[in-house]
Amino acid sequence: MELLPTVWFIIIAVLWTGYLFLEGFDLGVGMLMKLFARNNTERRVLLNTVGPVWDGNEVWLITAGAATFAAFPRWYASLFSALYLPLLVVLVALIFRAVAFEYRGKVDNDSWRARWDWAIALGSFLAAFGVGAALALTTTGMPLNANGDREGGAMAWFSGYAVLGGLAVVGFSLLHALAFLALKTDGDVRHRARAWFVRLLPVLLLPLAAWALAIQFLEGKPWTWAAVVLAVVAAVAAWFQSRRGAEGHAFIAMGAFLLLGSASIFGAVFPVVLPSTLDPAFDLTIANASSSDYTLGLMSVVAAVGLPLVIVYQAWTYWVFRRRVSAAHIPAAHSFLPAVAVRAFTTKD
């Protein structure tokens, strides 16, 4: 058992879990812009709940990717190149979504806003689905040859697990966002979010539960089965807490559900990081995919200092912006009378 590759497997699992816990709700809020919000004021309430934090949340994804590159170069190279087209979709989705958050409010015009609303909603959906598909496939495998390259053409990665994983992250993100909105907003949005949460929990968690169970039947170990059972307990707790109006407890229970579910999946596949469906001998494992102990040791020291620090200052951000947002807080749309009314760069003399 290699110590440092194991440590880095755990760190990468933590980074993905942190990503899904944090960006999960802002991806969900993005989708709810179209599914839940009923007018522009409500959409702005939704946006402003994640406004100060979504960009910091997204860095968890970038760090998960970069940490995989540094700690398991062969895992990074095989996974990202095999999933070339789906990751292209994720990239385009993330680009439009990021720009939409920033640009939507910059022009006071309904069709401008409507276009960016679609960019946020669709971008969030495609990013969540794509990340979920990629994570599912890294647990269930793809047709990789001895070098770790995909065989069989551009769509050879596709399997039912890709759809299941995509739906799992989309469903979880939507539910997590409802729990988050119930916690972070006030007034009508808060009450509706809670009602939706209670009503939709079983449906939205079903695909994630199915993925976790499928992995247990394939690779399960006793402790990962136990984690699945505990995750179900956490989901039930979230439902009851939300129903009795304890929004903070419900949100924490969602976090516990994610943590346990993620532990059950990553724990079950360990030490394989990316199976080959062609030949088990081609499986990428923590042993054959990892960087040298020197590199892993160096990064362990940095991560031991850096990661807790990230958690501390991000937690502080949430504390600073802890107050609930409601429709009454939304100022008038950002419009201005330009100082220079005529078209720029034209002169009439």
Partner: protein, 533 residues
Amino acid sequence: MEALEIARWQFGITTVYHFMMVPLTIGLGLVVAVMQTIWHRTGKVEYLRMTKFWGKLFLINFIMGVATGIVQEFQFGMAWSEYSRFVGDVFGAPLALESLLAFFVESTFLGLWIFGWKQLKPAIHLACLWIAVVGSVFSAYFIIVANSWMQHPVGAEIIDGRPVMTDAWAVFTNNTALVAFPHTLMGALAVAGGFLLGIAWYHLWRRRKDGIDTIGPDGKVVPGEAAIPGRDKTDYKVWIRSLRIGAVVAMISFAGTSLTGDLQGKLMFEQQPMKMAAAEGACHDGTGFSVLSVGNLGSKNCDDIVAVIEIPGILSFLANGDFTTEVRGVNGLLDQYKADYGTHLPDNPIYGERAGQEIQYVPVMEVTYWGFRMMIGFGGLAALAALVALWLTRKGTVPASPWLMRLAVFGILAPFGANAAGWIFTEMGRQPFVVAPNPDLNGIDQVFMFTAAAVSPGVSAGELLTSLIVLSAVYGALLVVEVKLLVTYIRGGVVSAMPELANAPVDENEDATPGPDGTGTAKPADDVLAFAY
């Protein structure tokens, strides 16, 4: 086109595009942080307005850098999987440290700055901006460390066929990185300087044209006021200070890029002599610097290139600091490269169909020769323009000429051009290697990689072409949107970033910012949002 070529075009387009946003983010971030610091210390309202206005443009640009940065990170794995497998042990670490130690800081604290105008105490709010800006500078450092390792791979040994990090200190203090990092920062400041200068010039010119500012009998400006929100005497101060800050920053940064560029050039003559010979179109050993060379620069044997104007001794000075040492030319180096690294790509499956092809050790000389000159030319022009601008505005405003205004506005592009040309030169000049061999190391165990071996073997040309087309279209569309939005906010003036300056009827939850002394009209209900989306 072949997969390798498409992948290279995609990498080049993404990188050049990303690096339009990045220098403006770094440079303008530093400038805005200084402005807010001055406001914080003096309470002068023009500095608050400058912070808000330039801060708004900074944010419109920042998000584009973030969005394209994700492509940068993903495309190593997606399109360059052999490269990622080969170098991951060394090259991955600075990328991981960049996101863990720098990008997290930048994104989180910028969110605090954008939304925290009212929630945070003024000193803490200012500190958040500084932390975010320092984060972006560290981010640049880590990325430069990664890139410098491709230019000059140090601190690694080949074990089981791939480089393994043996000396992290050597990687993170690579002399290539230590000169490229300040060079890049200075290049970023040059972009910010030109940006401030051009936009401030436009507004000063506009104030004169609209009859707000007039010229007194002594030839000095007489600032005036117009009955338009935000176009008061303070507005005049905003633009003249911005213009002067921009001009000074542009000149200092040019001096900085020259000094660091000189150091970098001297290192490059040692580490990648072929790149520098190709930058010169220098076929034969010599001492002269070519001001103008003609002929077929794309020629591989180099014999039909004629130096039209050549200054003796200058090339030696650039390379060695004296005027007499002969600098090796392309022809001599070519024999050495062939002897050291072979004449044909090895018969190894990682080269795919490219195995056995002849290796072209001379980079595309049109690109290196003109890239090098455009970098220096655009940089020098921008600095010269800044000097002239300071002279022309010595009486307190800009000349009435619309042509000078247009020149100032389009001059914004020059430092962008210098940055892009510099990167294209140094990356294209490294070819045919993706990791250039380190001449300090000896023997066959040298750490290097041909670009021909780096591309993903499992990804088809069709997939690469799809992404090249999709990404280029997305970049093009978003560039149009970004520039339009920037122009709207630039034309809007300070009031576009501070609608509270307008007397137009506003919602009672007006976005008012308290001054550093705590005065202000913020109502309790405002405390939740300061800079609402």
